[in-house]
């Protein structure tokens, strides 16, 4: 129980041991390798890779990105090389690093989620994040994430097909996030992550057309932080499994807010684009914060917001 720098930040989320509570959010850090010039990947809590599907996917056509006030819209549409390519080409390169790799999986049907889970079992990945909340694909995606029953069904299927820890990633585009959190917990999720992107839109007033090729897109970045923090707080109060908080985290102060709200770990997403060192700098800032306050373990923050 010696408290050294590493112990101070170490967390264990549903059996996934991380050196820091700062993960990278799916779709915002590639496969990690893209940022290896900037960030020592061994210093990242966990890398959550881009949403992965059974077959390779080309994603959406047309413009895919638009900046908004303090945020951005994306409509990538889950472009990814497919699970086989991931296992054969990408995972071996990632395996050289001492960092847990979590695969964000996305299916068109409940069965596809199960197949993905089965395929990724025993491939060296540390866990699965079940993406039932992608707003950028026609089938599956968000449809599963806005209805408690289908969300639970997907999670049950994944749990049945894998021995890996399963994180259910929730969509913020719902009336009652606590209900969704409870549904996936009851279905066996080992942890819950949120928020995925809000659904947003932008229109080009010169062409009278949507800015994004896919009309609507996923809205992320600091702009969404107040909604994300509120939902993390609501979800964490509704479930017993650990919650991974994300949505607009740019700084250690933001991360601390999420942990006080109830997150056992956090992920930085859009921040990576703005500051390529974000994942490591946020962790360093949390360590400084703990030190300044005489705390010796980051878990001492979790859920400690005093609403009395």
């Amino acid at each position: 129980m010696v408290s050294n720098v590493n112990d101070m930040l170490a967390v264990n989320i549903a059996g996934i041991k991380m050196k820091t509570p700062v993960m990278t959010a799916s779709g915002t850090f590639g496969f990690g390798l893209e940022y290896s010039d900037f960030v020592d990947l061994n210093q990242v809590g966990a890398i959550v890779v881009k949403g992965t599907t059974l077959a390779p996917k080309a994603g959406n056509s047309g413009r895919r990105m638009a900046e908004t006030p303090a945020g951005m819209l994306n409509s990538i549409g889950l472009e990814n090389p497919g699970v086989e390519e991931f296992i054969h080409t990408i995972m071996p390169r990632l395996a050289k690093y001492d960092v847990p790799v979590i695969v964000n999986i996305s299916g068109n049907t409940v069965e596809e989620y199960g197949q993905l889970a089965a395929r990724l079992d025993k491939t060296g990945v540390a866990g699965l994040e079940v993406n039932i909340s992608c707003p950028n694909v026609k089938q599956g995606g968000i449809a599963f994430g806005t209805c408690p029953d289908s969300a639970a069904q997907v999670v049950r299927e994944v749990k049945a097909k894998t021995t890996l820890p399963v994180i259910a990633k929730l969509s913020p585009n719902v009336t009652d996030i606590a209900l969704m959190a409870k549904a996936v917990e009851a279905a066996g999720a080992d942890a819950i992550s949120l928020i995925n992107t809000l659904l947003g839109m932008a229109i080009d007033i010169h062409t009278w057309r949507p800015v994004l090729g896919n009309i609507v897109g996923g809205f992320s970045g600091p702009a969404v932080k107040p909604v994300a923090l509120r939902m993390v707080w609501q979800a964490a109060n509704a479930v017993k499994v650990p919650v991974i908080g994300m949505g607009g985290i740019m700084t250690a102060a933001d991360a601390v807010e999420f942990m006080l709200a109830g997150a056992s770990a956090v992920a930085v997403g859009t921040a990576n684009f703005v500051n390529p060192y974000a994942a490591v700098e946020v962790a360093g800032g949390i360590r400084d914060y703990l030190t300044e306050r005489g705390l010796n373990q980051v878990s001492q923050l979790v859920g400690k917001v005093n609403c009395g």
Binding site: G27, T28, F29, G30, E34, Y35, D37, F38, K50, A58, G59, S61, R63, R64, M65, A66, E67, P69, A70, G71, M72, N74, I76, E79, G221, P222, A223, M250, T270, N272, F273, V274, N275, P276, Y277
Partner: protein, 255 residues
Amino acid sequence: MAKTCVLAQIIENSVIAGDVFKLIVTAPAIAGIARPGQFVHLRLTDQLDPLLRRPLSIADCHAANGTLTLIYRVVGRGTMLMTKLQPGDTVDCMGPLGNGFTLTGQRPLLVGGGMGLAPLVMLAKAFCSRPATILMGGRNEQELFWPNMYAGVCPNIHITTDDGSIGYRGFTIDVLPGLLEKEKFDVIYACGPHVMLQGVAAIAAKYKIPCQVSLEEYMACGVGACLSCTCAGTSGKRHKVCTDGPVFWAEEVAW
């Protein structure tokens, strides 16, 4: 080879013409390794709006004194903020990004339209031993401050303008076939609006001249992580403009 992110110090930030500015910054870690066709990604504020970085081609680079030259047109909020940078200020600069041009051939022809002429400056200088010819297009005379920039670098400068206010009246792709008929070029490098690149690629294919094009796309990360910037490739696969490009062989792109 390593990409980095540094606080670059502003040396100069001045109007070249109309709404086009030249920005010279000191960034030795980037200038030491940058190649023609690569770009930098600038963060323009410590605040959270505008949030994202802005990509700008490296128009020139002096490894010895560690400076980069960028040439930009003011088109929106980010480039407007750039105009506020004063000598002595710093700007958060990530680079060098992207793959750059492949320097091949003995008789290169550069084709540039509008701000696409920026990265070709550095490319032209790299060809000093076998000087490149340049065909440049712009909207009007006012826009064609470029000839000065290429004078002394490219012995042959061909000019077109949309309104004929200087040079040939029309587009670069109107003039290009004639040029290829007259002279033997063994490689073409093009940067400019998408329709121009498409036209150049088609003409180059017809004349069977190897051709590289530098593409532009909306970018978030700039390092291949977000997939904002991908374009359709002929192989069926998609290319990331920020890392597989911005420079592609014309035949790699599904036009």
